[in-house]
């Protein structure tokens, strides 16, 4: 059984239909990516799974249980975390406080343990522990946002545009960390405009176009697919 299965999901903002009945699933241990242009509905899909937006129709089943209608903070407790687009770290709070907030649903003892794991993945956060998050560089903020999401000990981690606005060397670093996290047992749903990088690490991918899934396949298949190459990989 799939860990997450989305069926016929439709979401709109007022009169604008952002997601028009998409279905996809993720098995435990996989990296699955949703790729597509700006406005294809990728972030909307993630925000809906996280419970921030109510869908018009469709179901979202996580480990067999329906998520639609459940409050975002309850969804976090069930083991699903979203690292949002644009990082959205708490800029007036310190790195330590941001990580603290990430572990809000966990006990202090659990957080102490998880913190060690997060520092292992992101040693730079440990160096900046008392620094106010707003003064971190973009790459460091992305690491903080991911570390913060990990603090809730998610079974499924959703990453929304983790490479956005980062220098190429940092993009490589972030993707290496994504692969390591996955090897250590975290299932990952990755949304990216950097389709090339995303498809290289993903087991499977779905291509979204104006709210619909137009193509699916393994990462390797999509990487060499003519349409995908033309549309998203620069020929």
């Amino acid at each position: 059984m799939a860990m997450l299965s989305v069926n016929g999901l439709a979401v709109s903002y007022g009169a604008i239909k952002a997601v028009k009945g998409i279905s996809f699933d993720i098995d435990e241990g996989e990296i699955v990516t949703l790729i597509g242009a700006n406005g294809a509905g990728k972030s909307t899909t993630l925000n809906t799974i996280a419970g921030l937006i109510k869908p018009d129709a469709g179901s979202i089943k996580f480990k067999g249980e329906e998520l639609v209608g459940i409050k975002p903070h309850k969804i976090v407790e069930r083991g699903l975390a979203l690292c949002p687009e644009g990082r959205r770290v708490f800029t007036h709070m310190t790195v330590a406080e941001n990580l603290d907030m990430g572990g809000y649903t966990r006990t202090d003892a659990e957080n102490k343990e998880t913190l060690e794991v997060v520092y292992e993945h992101f040693p730079r956060l440990k160096e900046r522990i008392n620094q106010v998050a707003g003064t971190l560089s973009g790459g460091e903020q992305q690491m903080l946002a991911m570390g913060r999401a990990l603090m809730s000990r998610p079974k499924l981690l959703m990453l929304d545009e983790p490479s956005m606005g980062l220098a190429p060397i940092l993009v490589d670093e972030i993707f290496e960390i994504i692969e390591t996290l996955n090897k250590n047992g975290t299932t990952i749903l990755l949304v990216e405009q950097n389709a090339n990088m995303a498809l290289k690490v993903a087991a499977r991918g779905y291509v979204l176009e104006t709210g619909k899934i137009v193509k699916t396949g393994t990462g390797a298949e999509l990487l060499v697919d003519d349409d995908v190459r033309k549309a998203y990989l620069g020929g």
Binding site: H73, Y104, T105
Partner: protein
């Protein structure tokens, strides 16, 4: 009256304004609402003390506890009933609702208790202290100490505890706070509870000083405290305290030099000057648009 007595009076009045301003600033900090019903919560607190002591003949200690708890409960109730349904609504709707709640409480109190002032009995029979020949009111000293302790506790709550950090997270980015697993509505309710409990403490201290409750007592008190919060920089806890003390001192010293008719005008003049010279207030953060 000596200078020292005036300083003490200024500190006493300023402390009460500071406590009330803290409530304004906390609620503004978390949901960007100028909660115009905040002053009226104090009025309700004063009436609770009056009911418990005068009408029921129960102990002042119980009156104090029930005033504080009652105000905290009322704050939460107002949030749940009036503001929570408007979380996603434009800020103007929220502001108008707050004004509506304020009128509701004032007129409700007038309906229930009548328009005339009720005398709140003395909580404690306190002697005036005399230090080196200068008379010091025990009420003033209690007020100042209670305010100082409340401010310190509030600062610890907001800076160090899990709930306090959640309050700051919600105030900065509600959506991101939700993604952390923070129950945003409960966190906001908690903020109202704390802010209104401070108003309850303010109600008790105010009743100690002025011994009366009227349905409209919260208007001027609330407005002055609001001025104090803006003066100090709305959203800032130390700012609210500084603003409160400034307003208190301004009033007392204007009266002391024989211009007591002008004391309200001076407070509002102070506000106008600050808004012109430094619109974010003394300790306010410059406004940055969220993107």
């Amino acid at each position: 009256m000596t200078f020292l007595t005036q300083v003490l009076n200024g500190l006493q009045l300023g402390s009460i304004y500071a406590l009330v301003a803290l409530g304004y600033t906390m609620v503004y900090g978390i949901i960007l609402l100028l909660n115009f019903a905040h002053g009226d919560i104090i009025m309700v607190g004063a009436y609770i003390s009056w009911i418990v002591m005068s009408q029921l003949g129960l102990s002042p200690a119980l009156a104090i506890v029930l005033s504080i708890v009652g105000c905290a409960g009322l704050g939460v109730l107002i949030d749940k009933v009036a503001y929570q349904p408007l979380r996603e609504a434009p800020r103007m709707s929220l502001l108008i609702t707050a004004i509506g709640v304020s009128y509701f409480l004032e007129n409700g109190a007038q309906l229930v208790f009548g328009a005339d002032a009720k005398v709140v009995p003395e909580y404690f029979d306190l002697p005036n202290l005399s230090v080196g020949g200068v008379g010091l009111s025990a009420n003033a000293i209690i007020t100042i100490v209670v305010t100082a302790v409340s401010t310190v506790l509030l600062t610890i709550l907001v800076q160090k505890t899990k709930l306090g950090k959640a309050m700051r997270a919600v105030s900065e980015d509600m959506g991101a706070a939700r993604l952390m697993g923070i129950n945003v509505n409960n966190t906001i309710s908690f903020t109202f509870a704390v802010g209104s409990a401070l108003a309850g403490i303010g109600a008790v201290l105010y009743s100690m000083a002025y011994s009366q409750a009227t349905p409209t007592m919260g208007i001027m008190l609330g407005t002055k405290a609001f001025v104090a919060a803006v003066l100090g920089g709305i959203g800032s806890i130390p700012g609210a305290v500084i603003g409160g003390l400034l307003v208190g001192f301004a009033e007392v010293f204007v009266s002391a030099i024989g211009l007591s008719v002008w004391q309200d005008a001076v407070v509002f003049l102070l506000l106008i000057i600050v808004l012109v010279v430094r619109p974010t207030g003394i300790l306010g953060r410059p406004m940055t648009e969220k993107v």
